[in-house]
């Protein structure tokens, strides 16, 4: 059996009066896309932060790429190989221009300026963001910010992606665009989300954080019949009381992979 890329063993985090994680066991293998669900405040974000050493557990082991990681110095090489996409892209983008932000990671990994710039431009192009290099980060739309934040992570060529609510705050078009790009990536992923549609489309396995522990969860899609209204707009001047027909569209036609 292959060794897991990332693993947690009996992990505890929190304070005596307020424990967040109470003995979490987790293993992420190459090619896996793990959905991580759980109630608000269950500790999903904390768990991702523990995996890259931004928070230090009060007990248990963090194992990354076959080695146990404890101190800050142990996590420095891990962060080059595990990319964390933050919930709020404004936290992730701090450079004045998109190009500088995307090149920041590669430069920190010791690549030359030209190589970092090439990496950045290539990553932007792969995400359909050509022409964004000189844009000012704080003037991008929410959807653009999320894609640029993903670019900053991908430019470091990580082996694992940790996505914290990747579609949060995005409109439908931006969400679709992000999903298409995520689907095309071959990295192992941990995806924290409440968005069932996203998880069903991306995830290969699901776990749920419940009372400080991880329990297996199932994501399934099943055939069902239901009634709901499909809104359509009438142009001004067109009577709204025409015959709307009785036949509903076939379920799969309008729900895609749901």
């Amino acid at each position: 059996m292959t060794t897991p890329l990332l693993a947690l063993r009996g992990l505890h985090f929190g304070f005596a009066s307020h424990p967040v994680l109470r003995g979490v066991d987790l293993a992420l293998y190459p090619g896996e896309r793990l959905a991580l669900t759980g109630a608000n405040g269950a500790g999903k974000t904390t768990l991702l932060q523990v995996l890259v050493g931004l928070r230090h557990p009060s007990g248990g082991q963090v194992i990354a790429f076959g080695e146990e990681r404890r101190a800050e110095a142990d996590f420095v090489p891990v962060r080059g190989r595990v990319g964390l996409l933050f919930q709020d892209s404004d936290d992730q983008l701090f450079c004045p221009t998109v190009l500088e932000d995307v090149a920041f990671g590669p430069l920190n990994l010791g690549r030359s300026r030209d190589a970092a710039r090439a990496d950045a431009e290539q990553t932007l192009a792969a995400l359909g963001l050509d022409g964004f290099a000189e844009r000012v980060t704080h003037r991008l739309s929410a959807g653009e910010k999320r894609l640029v934040a993903l670019a900053t992570v991908l430019a470091m060529r990580p082996e694992v992606l940790l996505l914290d609510e990747p579609t949060n705050g995005l409109d439908e078009a931006a969400e679709r665009r992000l999903l298409t790009h995520l689907e095309g990536l071959d990295q192992a992923m941990v995806i924290v989300s409440h968005d069932r549609r996203l998880l069903e489309r991306l995830a290969t396995r699901a776990v749920s954080l419940h009372e400080g522990r991880l329990v297996p969860a199932t994501l399934h899609s099943h055939e069902h019949t239901h009634r709901h209204a499909h809104l359509h707009l009438h142009a001004t001047g067109v009577a709204g009381d025409h015959d709307h027909g009785r036949s509903a569209p076939v379920h799969a036609d309008h729900h895609g992979g749901e």
Binding site: Q49, V52, L54, V76, R79, G80, G83, L84, F86, D88, D90, D91, Q92, F94, C95, P96, T97, L99, E100, A103, F104, G105, L107, N108, L109, R113, A116, R117, A133, E134, V136, T137, H138, R139, S141, T152, V153, M156
Partner: protein, 251 residues
Amino acid sequence: MQPSPLSPRGGRLLAQHDPRLLVVALVLFALVTVSLKTPTAAAVALAAALALAAAGGLPLRELLRRLAVLEGFMLVVLATLPFTVPGEAWLTFGPLTATREGLFTAVLIALKANAVVLALLGLLGGLEPAVLGHALGRLGLPEKLVHLLLLTVRQIALLDQEQRRLRQAMRARAFVPRSDRHTWISYGNLIGMLLVRSLERSRRIEAAMRCRGFQGRLYLLDSHRWRFPDTAWLVGLLPLLAGLLALDRLS
């Protein structure tokens, strides 16, 4: 998206040059203007600055709004200098005596200060703060200062957004500022909340930087090229400045 207080609103006429040219031109112009000793030369400098401001393409309203900050200070100078510089008496108000020398100095300072600020607004007012930061960095200003400027600009925009959201939330619950205890307490809470959120955000940003392998170094990448026309403009500027100095010293 809300317009940021830092969005450039200027025209594109000057922005097509290398921003370093604009900074260098401004520094030279300011140095020459400050050294002027005659009101005639200072008036010529002011006229040149007005032309620059017009070329900069900053809307008049915006220009006046920014100038107003300077004029408040200038009023104080104009009002006090005639009475504090010793010299030949010109006007007497009770125990106070205004001198001709004082008036001369006040007028000279007002002309020079306005000339420098107008040139500043004309040359740099239309630049994106990020572009200005890059230009300063490329001109050899300490990198730490440049990054401080750039990070500040980025965070001011976020702080401004946060502030707008909080104020909207207050207004949505029928808050109307009055000069009473309730208003001051509410504003205190607003500022406190802004500070707390900024601190939290700074921690998240630090975490994001560590995630991307931050080791205490930030990098500047831009693609401005110094082109031949920039050199030509700079060389063309020198005789004008020399002429200004000559006018000043020879008259």
